[in-house]
């Protein structure tokens, strides 16, 4: 449905996008995952028509959008810092797109109320946007973008500025909403949890290019290269081979074949860094209350199923 073909953008000589391509099917949610500066936001801006590409093009339902200005594209965008209209109240923010397409007044107000209910902000119509919390502002931004029924919804790190607990809650809400509405969406984030939770497919970006597009499971099973594997948090990257942390079994044993260098608890799991006697260094994850301490000798076995060969 949506296709970005070989898009390049340069800023002051430096490439922000360097031949990036992306395809999104109808009612599909593609999440774009990449470190900051990888060109994710620029890609969204090109698709929305806010940034003219130096080369490449964007097609929607087979139609080249190159000469279509942003206000005629029918593509919605949720901005990172919400970009709400500070001089308008909540209802007027949501109603804006409806007014722009010339809906009659009754239709505007009924649809506005409907959207605010959808995002759980019924009754907030007359509130000023400045009086809202970060999470509420995010919901208004979402309702505003959804109101004129965009053909594609783009979201630029919409949860980026919120605290962790709020993010988890809004993430659930978004997942439900995407499902219910059958949205076609591109969701940009640098957070793996968000990308894997929401994305039917995940596009990994690096240095202005889309380096891999795959379902979360495929991506985890077959990262395209060592850099993608490292970015996904797979630490045991050794040339063309990746050993997943969960494929490494660790038992305390005075004989053993390695020694624990570091042990860090990250929630339910404890990540261990182990120096093997053969000189290699290995990351492992153990789910245990009692776990080996730095300096302990351990016996390490690797499940061959957990070894991934990079393409």
């Amino acid at each position: 449905m949506l296709r970005a073909e070989d898009v390049s953008v340069r800023f002051d000589g430096a490439a922000a996008l360097d031949g990036a391509s992306l395809e999104v099917g109808r009612s599909e949610v593609v999440t774009v995952l990449g470190p900051s500066g990888s060109g994710k936001t620029t890609l969204l801006r090109v698709v929305a028509g806010l940034q003219a590409p130096d080369s490449g093009r964007v097609l929607l339902d087979g139609v080249d959008l190159s000469t279509t200005p942003p206000h005629r594209r029918g593509i919605g965008l949720v901005f990172q810092d919400h970009a709400l209209f500070p001089h308008r109240d909540v209802a007027a923010n949501v109603a804006f797109g409806l007014r722009m397409r010339g809906d009659p007044d009754e239709r505007v107000s009924s649809r506005t109320a409907e959207l605010l209910d959808l995002v759980g902000l019924g009754g907030f119509e007359r509130r000023s946007v400045g009086s809202l919390s970060g999470g509420e502002q995010q919901r208004v931004a979402l309702a505003r973008a959804l109101a004129p029924e965009p053909r594609v919804l783009l979201l630029d790190e919409p949860l980026g500025s919120l605290d962790r607990r709020l993010r988890d809650r809004l993430l659930d809400d978004l997942e439900r909403l995407f499902d219910e509405l059958g949205l076609t969406a591109v969701y940009v984030t640098h957070d793996q949890t968000e990308a894997f939770t929401l994305g039917d497919r995940v596009a990994v970006m690096r240095a202005g290019q889309v380096v891999q597009v795959a379902t979360p499971d495929e991506l985890w099973a077959h990262p395209a290269d060592a850099d993608v594997a490292r970015f996904l948090g797979l630490a045991n990257v050794d040339g063309a081979e990746v050993i997943r942390p969960e494929a490494v079994t660790v038992r305390s044993s005075p004989a053993g074949n390695g020694r624990v260098e570091r042990a860090v608890r990250t929630g339910p799991l404890v990540r261990l860094r182990i120096a093997l006697d053969d000189g290699r260094s290995l990351d492992a994850a153990v789910a245990a209350v009692e776990h080996p301490q730095p300096g302990d000798r351990v016996d390490v076995t690797i499940d061959p199923e957990g070894i991934v060969r990079l393409r």
């Binding site: 806010l50 200005p69 206000h71 005629r72 500070p86 001089h87 804006f96 004129p148």
Partner: protein, 528 residues
């Protein structure tokens, strides 16, 4: 010095100075206008001439404001949206007309406009736009540059066309800055004196110019006093309306740093927009000044320095050689700058202090609204009897000029003082510095640069001060603006050429002093 005696000094000196040289003359005007000998004040108010003058003052100020905004809008847009080489230079140069003496601006338009069209309401409006364009470009441009462009982009993705975005988003968000800039331009145009006196011809006068006419040409001090009261009431009402308007329009929007909002000039269309906007403004501001210089060099059919050479000749127009006006101006302006920096600087300490004084803050700003002509008239009325007959005192001119400059000094100094991190003072105190020592070691070095900038502005303002000085300068001690005005009042090619030459000298001295200030200011930012 103890904290207590420091407070006495920072409050006492400004209060005493403003009390004697501002409030007392103001009261003298009120007294003369309301109780003076002659007809009751009502007759002046109902006089058709007065009504015509007030009406002209109001509509020309409104029209000047609209014209200024129209002229400044393209440049404000370019400075508010684009990043390009020389951007800060452009925003520095645009300020030059604003600090040019009004007499110079008036002469520049006399020089450029064709004979027969150089006097009337139209030249007044254009000259006001020339003079005030910096106010709009700087206030609106800076505000615009800090607006989040994504808010407008969001409107675009919601289906708003460029026209709809301008109407629904950009204008409402810019409204507070537009209102603030309009209020300032309106006030300056409303109280305009030099430009109106020179370009208005016999038909057009603002209240300010009419005060001068009544006092100096018709010797009717009472009518002048009544008109001063009218002017004061109008100014107070205008400020009140502006303040209410600004408060109503204020939006707490998302402000961002300029580096996040400005975009580079990329497409050919953008280059054209930037080039035409800045080029057009450059032409509008540069051409009249260039023609002024050209006219000062015109001799018969060719060009030469004859008019400048003649500046050393005795003349019947002044009781001094023209070049002495240059010396007088520089001496007076230096003295005025010194007074303004001492009084304004002390007042700034009082206003910016932990228990900042709203009363003093308002009081030091008042001379700005009360207008220079009123100050001059007030001095004449108030200081006319022994033991305070100061009319002939050599220091009365710098004191009047300092009063005009003090509001600017305070406006520059207060933000500088407030920008000092209080923890620096705490740190010094914890390390054993006494309050006096803290002021000397912490505050003074930081405010030194602010003081330099303030002194430069005060000097430039005093150099060009015309409204008060024209009342007070002794015939044998004219300043440059006064001398220019006198030469302009006499017929003859030579007198006109001398006026042009003196205007060029005045412009040169002013521009040099302002460029020195801008070099210091550019490293700081802020509107002034």
């Amino acid at each position: 010095m103890s904290t207590r005696s420091w407070r006495v000094l920072t409050y006492g000196v400004p209060l005493a100075f403003l009390g004697l040289f501002f409030l007392y003359p103001l009261l003298a005007i009120l007294d003369r206008g309301l109780h003076g000998a002659g007809d009751p004040p009502l007759d002046v108010l109902t006089d058709p001439v007065t009504r015509e003058v007030v009406w002209f003052t109001v509509w020309q100020a409104l029209a000047s404001t609209a014209l200024t905004i129209a002229v400044a809008a393209p440049a404000a847009y370019v400075l508010g949206r684009y990043r390009f080489r020389g951007r800060s230079l452009v925003s520095a140069i645009v300020v030059v007309p604003f600090v040019l003496p009004t007499v110079v601006v008036a002469l520049a338009f006399l020089a450029i406009l064709p004979d027969g069209l150089e006097r009337g309401w139209a030249p007044i409006l254009v000259a006001h736009a020339f003079f005030n364009v910096a106010v709009v470009v700087r206030i609106v441009g800076t505000f615009w540059a800090n607006l989040d462009p994504r808010v407008t982009e969001a409107a675009a993705t919601l289906g708003a066309s460029p026209a709809a975005r301008a109407r629904e988003i950009v204008l409402p968000l810019l409204a507070p800055a537009l209102a603030a800039a309009s209020a300032i331009v309106f006030l300056f145009s409303f109280t305009s004196f030099g430009i109106v006196l020179i370009l208005g011809g016999p038909r057009y006068a603002t209240v300010e110019a009419e005060i001068y006419n009544q006092a100096v040409r018709l010797f009717d001090l009472r009518a002048a006093a009544v008109l001063s009261i009218v002017q004061l009431v109008c100014v107070v009402v205008a400020i009140w309306v502006a303040t209410r308007l600004e408060r109503r329009l204020a939006v707490t929007g998302t402000m961002r740093a300029e580096r996040d909002t400005l975009k580079p000039v990329r497409s050919r269309r953008e280059k054209l927009v930037v080039g035409l906007s800045l080029g057009g403004l450059g032409l509008f501001l540069g051409l009249p000044l260039a023609v002024l210089v050209e006219r000062s060099l015109a001799v018969g059919g060719g060009h030469g320095l004859d008019a400048y050479a003649a500046l050393t000749d005795e003349t019947s127009v002044l009781l001094a050689a023209p070049w002495e006006a240059i010396v007088n101006s520089i001496v007076y302006a230096t003295a005025a700058a010194a007074i303004a920096v001492v009084v304004g600087g002390l007042a700034a300490f009082a206003v910016a202090g932990s228990r900042g004084s709203r009363l003093l803050d308002t009081l030091v700003l008042l001379p700005l609204g009360a207008s220079a002509v009123m100050l001059g008239l007030g001095f004449l009325i108030a200081f006319d009897t022994a033991p305070i007959d100061f009319r002939a005192a050599p220091w009365i001119v710098p004191v009047a000029q300092a009063l005009v400059a003090i509001p600017f000094v305070v406006r520059i100094m207060v933000p500088t003082l407030r920008s000092i991190d209080p923890r620096l003072r705490d740190a010094a105190a914890v390390l054993g510095a006494s309050p006096a020592r803290v002021r000397r070691e912490i505050d003074l070095p930081i405010v030194a640069r602010g003081l330099t900038v303030a002194a430069g502005f005060a000097f430039a303002i005093s150099l060009g001060e015309f409204g008060a000085t024209v009342f007070l300068a002794r015939p044998d001690r004219p300043t440059l603006p006064v001398a220019i005005f006198r030469f302009l009042g006499r017929p003859g090619e030579l007198n006109l050429a001398t006026a042009y030459a003196l205007a060029v000298v005045l412009m040169a001295v002013t521009v040099v002093s302002i460029l020195l200030v801008e070099r210091i200011r550019l490293r700081r930012g802020g509107w002034f």
